[in-house]
Symmetry: C2
């Protein structure tokens, strides 16, 4: 029997209120319209996204599986079973690319174990958008995910990161942006090294700023609570 495919579907990274179909490659909409099984991080927001993509999307005939930290192996087995039986499945996280700092990785891993085709679709990645626009080293970079929450450990990690060359990328939950920013600026030497702060990417309040640490030390900057990517080089 022909197996289904596992489609990795990126969703917008700007605020839901600013939904703009012009940001969506048409083949993504076409793919979504053919699917009726989804593995998602959040059912409610996924339903809203599907209705924005296609106001006539048949939500009632659609199966949603939740994939997050609490998902049990049996649920993953259910999804893999559907794929093995020939049904295509779409994976969507809350925003951006599934599988990258977001759920989806485990499902892909299981799909490869069963020789199921995984099909990544083009969409927004805040990591890549920030790096493209930062002017920092795109030839060699490292994504660290979140820095430690506890201040002392965070500072230790910042100092460790600084010892390595290339661009270092990390993310933070919006309400901790200021803390991370202050710790970075305070704990780096006032030199020519640079920090890029990229906020609300693709949103109406997008801002991408790359400055030397020596410059940043002179101004007290207040960050707003938008999703933010930090890149240190």
């Amino acid at each position: 029997m022909k197996k289904g495919k596992l489609y990795l579907i990126p969703v917008p990274i700007h605020s839901e209120d600013e939904f703009n179909s012009k940001f969506i490659p048409p083949y993504l909409t076409e793919t979504i319209n053919k699917l009726n099984i989804f593995a998602v991080e959040n059912i409610r927001t996924s339903r809203r996204f599907l209705r924005k993509i296609n106001p006539n999307f048949n939500i009632d005939q659609t199966t949603f599986h939740i994939i997050d930290k609490r998902t049990e192996d049996s649920e993953y087995s259910n999804i893999i079973n559907s794929l093995t039986k020939g049904y295509d499945v779409g994976v969507m996280s809350e925003s951006g690319c599934p599988g990258i700092a977001d759920p989806g990785q485990k499902l892909c891993k299981l799909a490869h174990d069963k020789n199921i085709i995984t099909k990544p679709l083009i969409g927004p990645s805040s990591i890549i958008l920030a790096l493209m626009a930062s002017g920092l080293n795109g030839q060699r970079f490292k994504f660290h995910g979140y820095l430690p929450i506890e201040k002392e450990n965070r500072i230790k990690e910042i100092k460790k990161i600084r010892q390595n060359t290339g661009a270092h990328i990390f993310i933070e939950t919006p309400y901790r942006n200021q803390k991370v920013y202050d710790d970075l600026v305070q704990n780096l030497k006032p030199d020519d090294r640079k920090l890029c702060v990229a906020s609300d990417l693709t949103g109406i309040n997008e801002s991408i700023s790359t400055k030397k640490i020596s410059e940043l030390k002179q101004d007290k900057i207040t960050l707003k609570k938008y999703p933010t990517i930090f890149i240190l080089e």
Copy 2:
């Protein structure tokens, strides 16, 4: 005077012959149609891309600046001057996202120095597409660019990379795919660690395979000469 914006424009990563406008978010086409100054890696392919985006694109009224390894500072100054005078400029590499393992970074850097807004647009990144679909660690990953060309140094680098956790991503020019693959499989222990080989992403011959090193050691695999991303975890 209002400064221009520097638009970072991703271009398709599959073969030019397979151009499909369904892969392009509509706002990218709209942005391109408004521009008449571009900084590009290759003028000929950029012209062809613009004509595919819009068959009526006014190529004759368009200025192209080449940005590559040989570009002199004076040419960068010309581009920055246009931006300072209020003209928008688009940056395009041969394929994928400019500034990431491709020219564009230096221009972005200079733009930030002059407080010119850099505006990244959504498009294909082979690094991100491969990582999304690999089932490997998207929470913590490192992009190494190209491995050393010389066999002995390449093997040394592979052994060094393996000592660190997380996903390790590297690229190769298509005609060296097989050499890199063979060196990887031969120089890694036959264990549960995994290698993803992602070739011709978004193209008609796309293949994404993630296997344990122990499995790969049992089969002699022949890679085709498509652009390929390797991810080792």
